[in-house]
């Protein structure tokens, strides 16, 4: 195996730049001294990458590094900078004239849980009858063979949160963090999601008041929950649910609430504050109306950028500049709404820019801010020690005329193929005989 990689195994952990550059220099010296034979043995793993010549948005700094090199070793970013020499043994990826960003993070998806929307046998995100509430943990059913993984990976999405959908209870269950290359499940029980939007009102018997009351009561009881003393009445959460809710409350993980109307967003802020939970508002059509309160609470909003319709009476204040207004007030803005087509997250972020969100903040909402929101460490940035999730784009990643030319996940070059490209290849020339191509 790669002798050098073991020796420089430190590169997998973050360390200061100066030390890092010293290591690089050492490697260069070694490269001159070692006989060619050793390189033949050591190099062919192609494990290490040098992405050269690109305009690199590191998300550490608003300004890009122009004509920069990103070095990747052991699945991590080893170094990034202009005039950085690319070691001989590194596989070169030419990004001249291209843009390089961290891989995109989809903050709210059902990847690996739902293959085909209307086919219930392929949908493990929607709990229709089973009496599980906050204990519902989707990580048991994640499908690493889902066709959504290569399709969305080709569009530059490298990590995602995958969540239960609204089922039979306002608290739908626990979502998981997944990776779209390599081992699929990154972390189970990453966040708890509840649905309090207009569509979910029925889940608590038809009233928003009842839905909120159910949550407030359950959270209060869960924080002092003891299995031996808990006597659930009809319709109350089971011991299993209460135990899960208690574990969640003490975990420090984010509480995700799908809620649109300004009044309920305030209630959601109160609930999260009462239990010291980080709040992520999902959708939040009227979040802009309570942006100061959201900012003060340190909440994030996963904005549905295209959701400017007064789609329900909870969303009468929906507007295209929701993201811009929230950002201006200091609220963390991430994105949602693409579902099966994660590629459209870029378009949504682009439209947020078209309606006032600064470009770099839009990119951050797909990368760094999303990683921070979901507690993903060393993700969503290009800096030494960070996970090497990278995308080389043909142009501005927020443009609808741009595509991902190469995707890298944890240092691995991802195949730019999917079931969709196979269908394209099969049918691009209809004169060929059918069925064996």
């Amino acid at each position: 195996m790669n002798f050098g990689k073991r020796f420089f195994g430190l590169s997998a952990t973050p360390f200061v730049n100066s030390l890092h550059l010293a290591v690089l220099r050492l490697r260069k010296v070694r490269a001159r001294l070692l006989p060619a034979l050793l390189w033949v043995l050591a190099a062919p793993s192609w494990a290490d990458l040098a992405i050269v010549g690109g305009r690199v948005y590191t998300l550490e700094d608003q300004e890009p590094l122009v004509g920069a090199t990103v070095l990747v070793a052991d699945g991590r970013i080893e170094a990034v900078g202009v005039d950085l020499p690319a070691p001989f043994a590194y596989r070169r990826v030419d990004a001249t004239g291209k843009i390089v960003t961290p891989g995109l993070i989809e903050s709210y998806s059902h990847i690996g849980l739902r293959e085909i929307g209307l086919e219930s046998t392929t949908d493990d995100a929607t709990l229709l009858e089973h009496p599980l509430g906050p204990a519902f943990d989707v990580s048991y059913a994640l499908n690493p063979a889902s066709t959504l993984i290569p399709v969305n990976r080709m569009e530059g999405v490298t990590r995602a949160l995958t969540f239960p959908l609204a089922g039979v209870d306002p608290l739908a269950g626990l979502g998981a963090a997944v990776r779209l290359g390599g081992e699929f499940l990154l972390a189970p029980r990453t966040a708890l999601v509840g649905y309090l939007d207009a569509a979910a009102t029925d889940l608590a018997g038809g009233s928003r008041a009842a839905a909120l009351q159910r949550l407030v009561t359950a959270f209060a009881e869960a924080s002092r929950f003891s299995p031996s003393r808990y006597r659930p009445g009809p319709g109350d959460y089971s011991r299993h649910d209460m135990a899960a809710l208690k574990r969640f409350i003490t975990s420090g993980k984010p509480l995700v609430l799908a809620v649109d109307r300004a009044a309920e967003i305030r209630r959601a802020i109160d609930l999260a504050a009462a239990h010291n939970l980080r709040l992520v508002v999902l959708g939040g059509a009227e979040a802009w109306r309570v942006r100061e309160a959201l900012a003060a609470a340190g909440a994030a909003v996963a904005v549905r950028v295209h959701g400017n319709l007064p789609r329900s009476f909870d969303a009468l204040g929906a507007r295209l500049d929701n993201a811009a207004l929230l950002h201006e007030a200091g609220v963390t803005v991430i994105f949602t709404g693409a579902l099966h087509n994660s590629s459209n997250l870029r378009q949504m972020a682009g439209n947020a820019v078209a309606h006032g969100l600064p470009w770099h903040s839009a990119l951050a909402g797909l990368t760094r801010r999303a990683a921070e929101t979901w507690g993903m460490e060393n993700v969503g940035v290009i800096r030494p020690g960070a996970h090497a999730d990278l995308v080389v784009w043909s142009g501005d990643p927020l443009e609808v005329t741009t595509w991902a030319e190469q995707v890298v996940i944890d240092g691995e070059l991802m195949p730019m193929r999917s079931r969709q490209t196979q269908l394209f290849d099969r049918y691009r020339d209809l004169s060929k005989p059918y069925g064996y191509r």
């Binding site: 085909i116 007064p310 204040g317 595509w403 049918y427």
Partner: protein, 486 residues
């Protein structure tokens, strides 16, 4: 209305009644459009980049709109200089071009001519969405206004979606801000025969009649595949299978052929009585007569091929397959049959019949020489059909296909007009066509582009800089903050 026009009107009514009794010519006569173009001052856009919709891209052009039509399109500086001088001066000479309306012409002689500097901007034909449910499925989405699917019988060919359209749907104004000047409203796809669709001008109006595109043919919405068999499968009545779907179409067409034959015999005095009036069969008979166009919801390639057989069997034409996510598999057959495909850029996987959708569908259909259209079927998507076309173009380019922007703009303009039977009137920037155009602040295939101004029949209906030119529906009053849009 003056008194002396009354007898004439009575005569028309009498004729209509006679025709009704005769059971003939029922498709066109009633429920006519009352749309009247608003004032259309002469407008000159100078030095603008133009995607004509006819496959051309002009880097710098002058476009003259007068009396609601495209009066001239020329390379910048190419318009007749005397005419331009007159326009610039806003003199009486220019006034001659103002207002089509007869009596007011003299009074408006001195009306100023609007000259717009188009430098750095882009002009396209007004966008046309061939598949929309605005008004029939309005916002807010509540049961009391969800009026798009008459799910009481798999054949509801007798319903007209225009009778469901709520003109105060706030979604119309949002689509206008996205450059949409014309839209075709269809009934839903729960039935084999969903009913008649209607083409609307995207103008504020108290009545749906005031939006109806004058002279545009109605459509018949048909639906293949999962939806009808699911809807009626759940009710445990036919159809519950795809073969049940096809039997349902064929039975209805056979009845329509017989109905039409009875009408023909009555008119030819070979029979004593006209067939009893049947609203559904009226619709189907009008399709057989070529007066109503078939817009057929159909995802899968194999089902489209079957529908072409059904059409051949009964002697009608399919104008367009909608949601045709698998058109790329039979693009050659569709080109040969002369059928349009109305497609999304990238929707897939939300149901099994959409599992084989690929983002190159539109590009492959276009490359095969078939008529390709990008449609929305969405009150969000209709606001940015320009971006959807851009995505479809880019997906093709990503795989090495050569597609120009001038070609791709046709997917949301001229090809769409063709599928609605209104291509002679709108959908391209060409002398003599209706002045239905959108001015963009940058290339319309950029995600950052905004429609700055939108004209319909030469009237400026939308101006991004002027709140007074941004329609607000009744519903939005008191719901949004004045001066702030959605």
């Amino acid at each position: 209305m003056s008194n002396n026009s009354m007898p004439k009107l009575n005569a028309v009514l009498l004729l209509a009644v006679c025709l009704s009794i005769a059971g003939a010519g029922l498709a066109a006569a009633p429920h006519e459009s009352t749309y009247a173009p608003r004032s259309a001052p002469t407008t000159l856009i100078q030095g603008v980049a133009v995607l004509t919709g006819t496959g051309e891209r002009l880097e710098r052009a002058d476009v003259l709109m007068q009396a609601g039509r495209i009066a001239a399109l020329a390379v910048a500086g190419g318009l007749d200089s005397a005419a331009l001088q007159a326009l610039s001066a806003g003199s009486g000479e220019a006034g001659r071009w103002n207002e089509a309306g007869g009596g007011q012409e003299r009074q408006q002689e001195a009306a100023p001519v609007r000259i717009i500097n188009g430098a750095g901007k882009w002009l396209t034909p007004g966008i046309i969405d061939v598949h929309s449910h605005l008004g029939a499925y309005p916002s807010p989405e509540v049961a009391s206004t969800a009026d798009g699917n008459e799910l009481t019988d798999p054949n509801s060919a007798g319903v007209w979606v225009e009778h469901s359209v709520w003109p105060q749907d706030p979604q119309f104004g949002l689509a206008l801000a996205g450059g949409v000047t014309t839209l075709h409203i269809l009934p839903g796809s729960g039935n084999l025969f969903g009913g008649r669709g209607v083409t609307l001008k995207n103008v504020p109006s108290r009545t749906v009649q005031g939006m109806k595109f004058p002279g545009a043919p109605q459509s018949l919405k048909m639906a293949c595949g999962e939806n009808p068999k699911r809807v009626y499968g759940e009710k445990e009545k036919a159809p519950t299978t795809r073969m049940g779907n096809v039997a349902g179409y064929r039975a209805a067409w056979a009845a329509a052929v017989a109905y039409r034959e009875k009408q023909r015999k009555f008119q030819a005095r070979e029979a004593d009585a006209a067939p009893e009036r049947d609203l559904g069969l009226d619709t189907l008979a009008a399709v057989l007569d070529g007066e109503i166009l078939v817009q057929n919801h159909c995802y899968r390639a194999d089902e489209m091929a079957v529908m072409l057989d059904v059409a051949r069997e009964f002697g009608y034409a399919v104008t367009a397959f909608h949601h045709a996510v698998e058109s790329y598999k039979i693009a050659d057959l569709l080109a040969a049959a002369g059928v349009c495909s109305a497609m999304w850029s990238d929707w897939w996987g939300f149901k099994l019949e959409a599992f084989d959708a690929i983002p190159q569908n539109v590009a492959l259909v276009d490359a095969a020489g078939a008529c390709a259209i990008v449609h929305s079927d969405s009150a969000e998507g209709i606001q940015r059909l320009n971006q959807e076309a851009a995505k479809a173009m880019s997906a093709g380019r990503r795989m090495g296909m050569a597609i120009s922007d001038a070609q791709a703009i046709a997917w949301i303009t001229s090809n769409a007009a063709k599928a609605l039977g209104i291509a002679d009137e709108t959908g391209s920037i060409k002398e003599g066509k209706a002045a239905d155009v959108a001015l963009w602040d940058r290339h319309p295939f950029s995600v950052y582009a905004h429609a700055e101004m939108v004209w319909i029949d030469g009237h400026l209906h939308y101006d991004r800089q002027d709140p007074a030119r941004q329609p607000v529906s009744d519903f939005d009053l008191g719901q949004t903050v004045a001066g702030e849009g959605r």
